[in-house]
């Protein structure tokens, strides 16, 4: 074990190296580029034996990854924002062809106006493409989750997207514990995958799925991602035994006796944690839930954690224009609708296009949650820091 200072991006690159990836295809885009730069450096230096393919677009990057994955190779790619949007149609093929690709998506806003800063509007439109989605809070978690992602992907034969926030995580240097490479390689040994294409084994891939077959095919993906809940739980357990760090589908903080809570995703959870500590010092019973595994969505865990909570605020960092609510809020409402005891649920949107969510903003959110809980009904969505 080695304690080093790494940016979130480099933490991912080191995880990819230790996972002994065979194939990488990617196209540079801010704020993701340092990941693939570092990986190509590893390959050029001979520290990682892998094929790196320079492609002309993200659409080609993910297409090359699908092809490589079907040969049984361990495959990685990384992208952001417009790049992920450009991959959109192929993401569905990757999951339906059951290719265990691991992708780091460094979250960045979508144009227009052009914006390279952080929010969650790139990954949210990809909720329904059949990929497992993780969201991480720190460089350490980015490293650990990338390692886990390969194991989970190869067990359930589904692609996994590891989301890390652009700049506020991807470009922040912080302390990361890097385990010994052998330990990681023992943890995720290379194994032959089923349906492997080779010159000796010919399969027909990418078939037409007529009405008689399409439904069954899609149900396979649904069933696999549902089944992945077990694999993810086991991987988390095994990981904490070997590496000592504990992760769940949700990371909850001070929820044991919390009356009011916030639900967040990604790196801003850290700032929210800071605020929970401050409010706890003043005797406020507040807690925090961060959705780490967004797909499959941790319904049961959310219901259980919120059983005795009076009010909960849900912070979205992406919009669903014209929808019944913004993405995370809608999922939480859906999860809680049939729960016996449910809190008042208040929707918040903040931090779009890289606007900093400040300590005071989180304090305000907790105040609003408390206020609407006492009134017994939520306000319309509160847009944190919006002028006018």
């Amino acid at each position: 074990m080695k304690r080093v200072a790494l940016s979130g991006n480099y933490a991912v690159a080191y995880a990819v190296k230790m996972a002994d990836v065979d194939f990488v295809a990617a196209y540079p885009i801010t704020p993701q580029t340092p990941i693939v730069e570092k990986i190509s450096e590893f390959i050029a230096n001979g520290e990682l034996e892998a094929e790196y393919v320079n492609v002309e677009s993200e659409h080609s990057a993910i297409s090359a990854c699908v092809g490589a994955s079907l040969t049984g190779a361990r495959v990685f790619t990384a992208t952001s924002s417009q790049g992920l949007a450009y991959m959109h149609e192929v993401l569905f093929m990757a999951s339906s062809l059951r290719t265990p690709i691991v992708m780091a998506n460094v979250n960045r806003a979508l144009s227009h106006p052009l914006n390279i800063w952080n929010d969650h509007s790139d990954a949210m439109p990809e909720r329904d493409c059949g990929w497992i989605q993780f969201w991480v809070e720190s460089a350490q978690e980015a490293f650990d989750t990338t390692i886990q992602a390969f194991k989970i992907a190869e067990e359930v034969l589904l692609p996994v997207m590891v989301n890390l926030d652009g700049f506020i995580l991807s470009h922040v240097y912080e302390a990361v514990e890097l385990p010994d490479e052998e330990l990681v390689r023992d943890y995720i040994p290379s194994k032959p995958l089923i349906n492997r294409v080779s010159p000796k084994l010919s399969y027909t891939i990418g078939v037409v799925g007529p009405p008689e077959y399409y439904f069954e095919m899609k149900y396979q993906v649904l069933e696999a991602i549902e089944r992945s809940r077990n694999n993810i739980n086991n991987v988390n357990k095994e990981f904490s035994k070997i590496f000592g760090r504990k992760y769940g589908n949700i990371n909850n903080y001070m929820m044991e006796d919390a009356k009011y809570a916030l639900i967040t995703m990604g790196a801003v959870t850290g700032t929210a944690k800071f605020v929970v500590n401050e409010l706890r010092k003043k005797g406020e019973k507040v807690g925090l839930i961060s959705i780490r595994c967004f797909r499959p969505f941790p319904m049961d865990e959310v219901i259980k954690l919120l059983e005795d909570v009076k009010g909960v605020g849900v912070l979205d960092r992406a919009l669903t224009p014209g929808g019944p609510g913004h993405p995370l809020y809608t999922d939480i409402c859906c999860a809680l609708y049939n729960a016996k005891n449910k809190p008042i649920i208040q929707s918040f949107v903040g931090g779009l296009g890289g606007r900093d969510i400040l300590v005071d903003d989180f304090i305000k959110m907790f105040e609003i949650v408390k206020e609407v809980s006492e009134e017994g009904r939520p306000k319309p969505c509160v847009y944190i820091g919006l002028r006018g």
Binding site: S96, L97, T99, L157, N195, Y203, V207, Y213, E216, M217
Partner: protein, 95 residues
């Protein structure tokens, strides 16, 4: 029909050459008939057939496998010596 559990993962067709099972005999209106006396064994029909339904025999002569012929007539058009004629399937008995 196969259930979702029985379909190979990723909807792959894992048996090679499965198109052999696909008989299109009933798809045709016209059937190609090859006159072996006129045929010069040039192989143009074999090249042009989009279904790969024309077979080369060991002696170099050609034969049309009607199980895979959809009756498109491309072989007839490609034949320079007019060795192939298209015959209506429903007039089979009268020819």
């Amino acid at each position: 029909m196969k259930t979702w559990k029985e379909i190979p993962i990723g909807a792959m067709i894992i048996e090679p050459g499965s198109s052999i099972e696909f008989d299109v005999t009933l798809w045709r209106v016209f059937r190609p008939v090859l006159d072996k006396n006129k045929c010069t064994k040039c192989g143009l029909c074999w090249i042009y057939c989009p279904e790969g339904a024309i077979m080369v025999k060991e002696d170099g002569s050609y034969e049309i496998n009607l199980s895979y012929c959809k009756g498109c007539g491309i072989c007839q058009k490609s034949c320079n010596v007019k060795a192939i004629t298209m015959v209506r399937e429903d007039e089979k008995s009268s020819t």
